[in-house]
């Protein structure tokens, strides 16, 4: 099975709008899922500039699925759904 890829946006908008809380994912994900899930920081994913949707930041991408106003819980929920 292919690895689930989690990209945490580290662009200015996401960082300022609360992305700092997502840094916990770097510890939680390897602990919880081992090598089934890979988590990485990413330069601006460009999502805030579409339609000026900065109010929905911070953003995280789990494979192709975009998580808006991301929290640790929300991201884990999406990963769990992916892994079935």
């Amino acid at each position: 099975m292919a690895k689930v890829e989690v990209k945490v946006c580290l662009g200015t908008t996401c960082f300022v709008m609360g992305g700092n809380n997502l840094q916990e994912l770097n510890d939680i994900i390897p602990q919880k899922y081992g090598d089934k899930v890979e988590v990485m920081g990413s330069n601006c994913l460009g999502l805030c500039s579409i339609n000026w949707e900065y109010s929905k930041a911070p953003y995280v991408k789990v494979d192709d699925e975009v998580v808006t106003e991301a929290t640790v819980e929300k991201v884990l929920e999406v990963i769990d759904k992916k892994l079935g």
Binding site: N20, S49, S55
Partner: protein
Amino acid sequence: MAGQAIHLKKEILVRIIKAFLSDNFEEQTRLIPFAMRPKGMEVPYRCCIYKERAIIKDRTIAGLGFPIEEDDETVSLGTYAKRALERTEIDDKNLTVLQAACKGCATNRIYVTDLCQGCVARPCTTACKFGAVSIVNGKSVIDDEKCKKCKMCVNACPYNAIVKITVPCEDSCPVGAIKKDETGFASIDYTKCINCGRCTAACPFGAVHEKSQIIDILKAIKSEKKVIAMIAPSIAGQFPGNIYQLKSAIIKAGFDDVYEVAQGADITATNEAKEFVERMEKGDSFMTTSCCAGYNQLIKKHLPEIKPFVSDTKTPMYYTAELVKKEFPEAVAVFVSPCVAKRAESFENKNVDYVMNYEELGALFIAKQIQIMDCEPAKYAVESSKQARNFGFTGGVADSVKSALNDEESIKPCIINGLNKDSIRQLKKYATSGTCEDGCNMVEVMCCEGGCIGGNATINNQKTAKKLIEQLSNESKDIEKI
């Protein structure tokens, strides 16, 4: 601060800045509540969309730098925007309370829950020294008139059936300056307030706002004047990228130049080390630091007895602003701050024109779509020392003074990490007895727990923020000895 409340405040700041940058500031500002809660939108927090918009309007009033308490609801946001553009003076009462939000918060009291079993022992009645607990229909009842909120009954109940209902803003305030009054609205007593900002962070409704000076700063940027940002040392852990990229980003946002306040912190540390030696030679038993604005307000308003022990050395902001104004007397100097207390300090210093907190700078970056990580690193005219760059977390100031001394062993520092009722009592004891515990001769006082990285307007969590600051300071030179 509670996640969603702070998210909302930042979003409003971004919208205000975007409105200013648009070709119709007044109209775009008037539309902010409607843009955030458009017709037909599901209502996230309040009873209806109209209430939501009214609350957003109130928050926008604070963002424009006006007191929410004085709004009579008849003046439109467009008019407030116009007034913000026209004003030449800024309000020195730094905080404002969105009292409509206080409605949701119960008054501070002791309350018997349904868990009361009506037991035979009735320890609550005997524990109360004021005769406030009686039994009605077999269950405990508290007489609010007699109750002193001492919590003896709370602790006595074996079923945990009695609870203290707290008011977070009141509980967080170290000096009893914010109170919910008879009408149920919180208000701030400015004769007591030390501007620590604790209440802004504590209120789960996000009711306490800083009055923003962002419009005044944007106006200065738009004018012909030179506008200089002075960034506090704690900023190093607050944004993506490093402080050299941050300098470029701030210039891209419209400022003409950026000074590290760590440059002033080097002067503070050096002067404080010299002063320490003098005071010890004179026979003083201890000296406290003087760089924290919240602590300085505390001394003035609540703890004058400690004044003789407080260092006369000025703050890093003071020295930095002095350098800026010496070089560019006509420039507008903006201090970029982790906390509201520095706003209070700026009103006492003619060299500091405005204060912008980290949230507001973040909002400015968002509004101008500036990616810090993509910015080219820019050098500072003066490189600051490792110790000065560590001023922003607890222990950093004491360590810098120690490192500046020739005889490092002569100093025995102790740390007040955050002002609260206990630590204020402790400081009072030092002042009245004229001596500290355990042979300590240097007291570092930080108003916020963790230091400036715990300030009310910080963006990053403390642990990561500290790590990022240390990454920078570990690559910096040591402070020079006196």
